[in-house]
Structure formats: C-alpha cells, structure tokens
C-alpha cells in the first residue's frame, strides 16, 4: 500500500521477545502526520525495543508496523526511506568530517539538491563552524546535533528519537525543541522517547506510557489528568499509572 493519507505510523499488536524475556506485548498505537507522541515508561518498559523495531533495526516477529502505509517487514526499504532514527547515543564516523556525514546521509536517502539544505541545517544546529571537524573530535552534544542534522536532511515523514536531548547545552536544547516542533508543523510525525518528563509535557501532543512491555496509557495530557487528578503534572501521572516494581 502506498497511501499518502495513511497514518504516519501504525503499530498493530506488536510484540518483542528476547529468548525467554517478553520485552513488549500486544502493543498497538497510531501516530498521525504532524503529531508528536511522547513515549514514556520506566527502565525496561520496552521503549527502545519498540523504537528500534519501528526503525527496522530489529526484525518484527510479532504484529505489524506500518510507516506511512508501508509494512516495515514486507516493504522494508520503502518504509525506511520515510523515517529517521536517532538512537540515545549517536555514533558518528570517527574519520568523516561533519560535512561528509551530510554528504553520506544525502546519498543514503537519495536526497536531491541537498547542499543548500545541509548548510541550513548545520546553521540551525550551530554546526557551521564544525563543518570540517572529524566525527571523533565532536563532544557528546555536538554528536547529538550532527545526528539531528543528518536525520532532518531527507525530511522524513516519521522521526524516531530516543532521549534526544541528553548531552545538549541549554542553547542546544532550545534549538532542538524548536526544530522538532518545526518538523512536526511541516507534517512529520515524531515519536519521542525520554525520561525527561518536562520535555514530553512541553512537546508531545499525545502520550503513550509503557510499563513492563505493555501499554498502560495512550491519550492526551488532558485525558491523563482527567484519569488521575485535575492539574496534575506528567510526573504525577507517570507515578500514578506505572507500577512500582517493589510493590
């Protein structure tokens, strides 16, 4: 199916098992174009496994995942060409310059007329001065910014981000937040996984809470407040909804 009207991301009864450990089970949710979904949950809840499976890094053995209408398992390339994945600790190539990373990303996603766009992205993420710096010379924050710039280059319909703001300085955090919002406004769907609940609260249109591999909440912040207590913060909601492993 090649449906431009299809949701940007559709996850249907997805499950993931590592040997005997069931990391995720029966997970279903939908993300529409332009929507930012905040994915939260305690450690080991299955957030990263879910994101990596959507990104095609891990195979989908159970359930279905559709990116812009393309099944990740059946039409892997079509699905992948429409998404961008930023892991929690992006690893640049030690021997490639920042600009060469952009060049490679452009070739990888077959982006036409990429140079002006790459220049603009480097400027947006304050990397212009680092254009000729090698990947191995970048600080944690710079690596993160470079990952953003590379991911933005092919204008993905779906952005998957795992702890995207870790390592960024306040200025970097602000520009990253603005950039994520701009991408959503331009029509990209964003799935944002983070333990920084204030970030999710600020950016996300909708929240998906996972606990021990299962969905325990999927809705807007207002719906969550209505369920827990009016005026409560996402932190209050998180603690109210997720179980304490110690009981």
């Amino acid at each position: 199916m090649n449906a431009s009207q299809a949701p940007a991301l559709e996850v249907l009864a997805f499950g993931k098992t590592y040997e005997t450990h069931r990391a995720v089970h029966d997970l279903s949710f939908v993300v529409q174009p332009g929507e930012i979904l905040g994915l939260v949950g305690p450690n080991g809840a299955g957030k990263t496994s879910t994101l990596r499976s959507i990104a095609g890094v891990l195979p989908v053995a159970e359930g279905r995942i559709l990116v812009d209408g393309w099944d990740v398992a059946l039409h892997e390339q079509q699905a992948k060409s429409r998404l961008a994945w930023i892991p929690d600790d992006p690893q640049p190539f030690d021997t490639l310059t920042v600009w060469e990373h952009m060049e490679f990303s452009a070739a990888l996603y077959r982006v036409r007329e990429w140079r002006a766009r790459a220049d603009a992205l480097l400027s947006d993420f304050e990397l212009t001065e680092k254009r000729d710096a090698l990947g191995g010379e970048l600080s944690r924050g710079m690596r993160q910014k470079l990952a953003f710039a590379c991911a933005w280059l092919h204008e993905p319909r779906l952005l998957l981000m795992d702890e995207p703001l870790s390592g960024l300085d306040p200025r970097g955090i602000r520009s990253a937040k603005q950039s994520i919002q701009r991408r959503a406004e331009a029509g990209s769907a964003v799935v944002l996984s983070s333990h920084q609940l204030d970030l999710i609260e600020e950016l996300a249109h909708r929240i998906l809470i996972l606990d021990r591999g299962a969905k325990v909440f999927d809705g807007t912040l207002e719906e969550a407040r209505a369920r827990v207590a009016p005026g409560s913060s996402l932190e209050d909601i998180f603690f109210a909804i997720t179980k304490d492993p110690k009981g």
């Binding site: 431009s4 040997e19 174009p33 990596r52 990104a55 095609g56 890094v57 891990l58 195979p59 812009d68 892997e76 390339q77 079509q78 699905a79 992948k80 060409s81 429409r82 998404l83 961008a84 994945w85 892991p87 690893q91 640049p92 190539f93 030690d94 021997t95 490639l96 310059t97 060469e100 060049e103 490679f104 070739a107 990888l108 996603y109 077959r110 982006v111 036409r112 007329e113 990429w114 766009r117 090698l134 990947g135 280059l153 092919h154 204008e155 993905p156 319909r157 991408r183 331009a186 029509g187 990209s188």
Partner: protein, 590 residues
Amino acid sequence: MAGDAHEGPRAAVGLHGDASLRLLAKLKFKGALRLQVRRAKRPAGMLFFGLGLLLMGAWIFSLFKGAAGGMREAAEPPDERTALFVAQVAIAGIVLLSILGALQFRGLFLPREEIERLFSAPLTRAQLVAYRLTTAQSRSLFGAALFGVVCAQRAGNGLYGFCGAALAMLTVPVLGQAAAILFGDAENRLARLAKRLPLRLFSIVGGVALGLLAVWLVFGPEESPFAPPELESLRDSAFLQALLLPAWPWARAMVARDFATFAPSFAFGLAFLWLARRATCALKVDFRELSLETSADVARRLNRMRKGGVANQAEAARAPFGWTPPWLFGRGPFGAIARNELAAILRKARGTLFLLVVAGALLAFFSHMLSRKLASSAAAQAGVDALQEARLAASGGVALLLVVGTAYLCSSLRFDFRSRLHQMDQLKAWPVGGATVFLAVIAPETLLVWLIVALGVLAPAAFAGSIAGWHVAAVLFQPLLGLAWVAIDNAVFLRAPVRYTPGEDSAFLHMGRALVLMLLRLFFMGGSLFVALLPGAILLYGLQAADFAPTVAWTAALSVAWFVLALCCAGIVWLGGRAFDAFDVARDRG
C-alpha cells in the same frame, strides 16, 4: 509535505553494493588517510610515522628480496606433488581458521557507528552484505599481496604463485562471511539449543587444536612414539587427498609452472569468487539481531583489549573458586590496593590463568627440549662429556624459561595501569603516595608471574630429582626481574599512555611509537641488569682469582647481584611513582 526530497526505489544490488555505501567506503578511506596525515604533521607523529614506515618497508623488502631469490631458484623445480599438497594444506588451513572465526562473528559484523544507521536506512540486506564483503576484501588486499609474495618464493613460477595465493586469500573473507551468516541462521532456527552451545569455545578450541597440530607436525620429536608422519606419507594418503580436494584449483594455480596449467585453475577461482559473492549476498537470512549482538560483543571485546592483555579481556565472575581474595599484602592502604588488583586477576583471569599455567608447563617442556638440542650440538662441537652436556642443557632450559616465561606471562596478564587508565581519576585521589600506589598495582601480577615461573623451573627439576643451585638462583632472581620489567613497562606507559587495538587507523604511527617505547623499555631493563650484574661479575672474577671455591664465589657474586638488582627495582618503583604523580588525567586517551 515531508519526504518529497528523496528519490524513488533503489536499484537491485550490484557486485559492489549500493552507491551510498560505496561513497561511505570512499569517505572512510579518505578520512583515514587525512587523519594519518594530520597526525604525521606533528614532529613526534612524523618521527613515529617514519619509523613505522621504515619497519614495514624493511619487512616487505625482505619478503620481496626472498621472493625474487625464490623466483631465480625456481629453475631447480621442487617436487610438484609435494608443492601441490602443501599449497592445498595451507589453503584449507586458512579457510578452516576463517570459518572457525565465523563462529565468533555470527551474522553480519558492522562497527557500532554503522549498525544502527545502516539497519534503519533504506538498504537491502544484500546491499549491506555486498558492502561488508567489499570492505573485508579491501582490507585483505594487503595481506593477500604479502601472502602472494611469500608463496611466490616457493612456487615453480613466481607470478603464478603470487596470483593463485592472492586469489585464494581474497576468496577467504567471502567464505568466512557466508559461514557467519549461515551459522547465524542456524542459531536463529535452533534458538535455545544454539544459545547453549559454547560456539566461541568451539572456535577457540578448534584454533588451538589446529595450532598444536601444526606445531606437532613441524617440531614433533623425531625417533619417538610421538614422531610426526613424513610429509610424503601424508601427501600420498587417499583420505587427505579427498579431504583437501576443494582446495585443489587454487593450489594448482599457485604451483603451476606453465600458463596452460595456471589459466584454467585461476579462471575457475575467479568464477568461484564471483559466484560466492553473489550467493553470499543473496542468502535469505535476517541477521539483524545477531549482528547487533555481535557488534556489541566486538565493541566490548575491543574495549577490554584496550585495557591490557588476553586475560583482561574476560568478563569478571562474581565468586572465584567460592572464596574472597586474600589480603596478601596486609590490611593497610597498600594491601587494599594490591588486593583490588588480586581480585581483578582472580575474578577475570579464571580460565586464562589455567591456560597460562598449561602454557607455562608447555614452555618449560619445550625450553627443556630445545636446550637439550642446543646443548647437544654445543657439546659435540666442544667435545665435552655427557654430564657437562646435561648440566648445560638444564641451565640453558632454566635461563630460557626465566626470560621467555617472564616476558610471556607479563605481556599476557597485564593487570596493571593499562587496565586502570579509565580509573586514574580515582587512583590519583587516593590518600597514598605515588610510589605506593604504583607498587601496589603491579605487585599482584609480579607475584603471580613468579609463582608460575617458579613452578615451571622447580617442578621438572623436582620430578627428575635434580634441584640444583641454578634452580634456586632462578627462583630467587625471577621476582626481581619480573618486578623490574613490569615496573619499567608501567612507568613508560604512564609517561606515554597510548593504546592501540587492531583495526584502528594510523597503524604506521603506532608501529613507530611502539618501537620507540619498546626500545626505551629494553634500554632501561638492560641498564638495570648491567648495573646489577657488574658488581657481582667483578666480585666473581676477584674471588675466582683468589682461588675461592666455585660454590662460594658464585654464591657471593649472585648475592651481591641480587641486592643491587633489588636496589635497582626500588629505584624503578620510585620512578614509576613519579610517573604516576606526573600523570595528567586530562591526557587520557582511553
């Protein structure tokens, strides 16, 4: 609308993969060169780079010189059947080792900076495999050329020998990759059963078994029940001929003397390589999960490798032998630091420690055998009697064990500052003097090496019922020699804390620097030994001139040498402490 910038579906996989992956390979190659040049621009970098280049150049020159000589001598043709058999064995051995290695790299290995990026990119697995094969084959080019040159020396025709050997070497990575993917597929299918199979252990045991077989065939004792078979009888064995048949075309190309023999074999090899590449790329196996595991595993191993020797690469076990490490060096700060190191050895080395003891025993055996051979020829030349010959052999064996055993064990264990470089912030904050920390960190390793070497020296002598003076002297001198070496090694390391792992770039620069640092260590070690042994030698000369009994003269001389060496060790430890104090944590390149 997002997503309009990219083009349509990608073309099917070509022989060398996707265009973007070719660009990546090109950029990485360019980047590695640029980094090399950037480093070589500094004066020290330039010196080290030049030295490394010189070393490599000298080695390659010696190979080419040998090859040229081999080609000239080829006018006298060697036995063709034997040459073919040896070539078949060599190829089969390399392929077997490669397949055993594939047990450790199941799936498709991609470095950590590539794996998440490429797996989430719109690339087919066939394109990824093609890219990986091209990378692996490019890396093999240098090795293939060297192997070709070595084979050209022994081949009937140097050019054919070179081409056949190089082609075989370029085929090996493809077979290894296919095996890794197929093993991965088998693991996926067998699921839990495969998880329980210790494949890495199989790989190591297989490699060791092959190595031992080769050692036995080459160095096995003649005229004994364990004598290895003659090459001719192996060559004529129908079983071996059948077993080695798959290697026949490449071997035939290597040993061919005329074009008519060479051309069809070489053409077959080329066609096989092309087909094997296509078939490996076309394997319908989802290797993603295994590849992620393999890449994480390799990253962990490389990280551990950077911390020191082989023993340091193991994971720590919680309960070594069911007991806690003893406080061998007291309960003060010194004892606590030393116990920490001892715990690392006992909890990490485990099997390696056992293997080191076995290796030590083998070393003792081989040094005994070798010294017997050497002493026998020396005695025959000098015309000495059998008793003197036996003494010569025993003392030679002990000396060999002392030097080689100490060097081997120290380089294998490396539970020293190499394994603590990432914790130097903590070590520097300890409320203890630099020399104390320095000695406490290296003391357990030195002690352990002493115990193993002492066992290697005394056990065979005790078994033979002939513990002599030189055995005791060796056991008394070893801890000082070991301490001096480990202390010098660590002091130099603290002054130049750089580590290199295989696969890193700037190999020439590292080679040159390693040479300089090794020469520096040897210079200090030689200087220490000279200072320690000189007074002893003078005393020995004086006592012998004054007609003292040899036992008295030797005992007095060795005692003086021991004390002076102990003083030297104290001085080296003090210097090591200074190096520790001067260590700048901001410089750590770990």
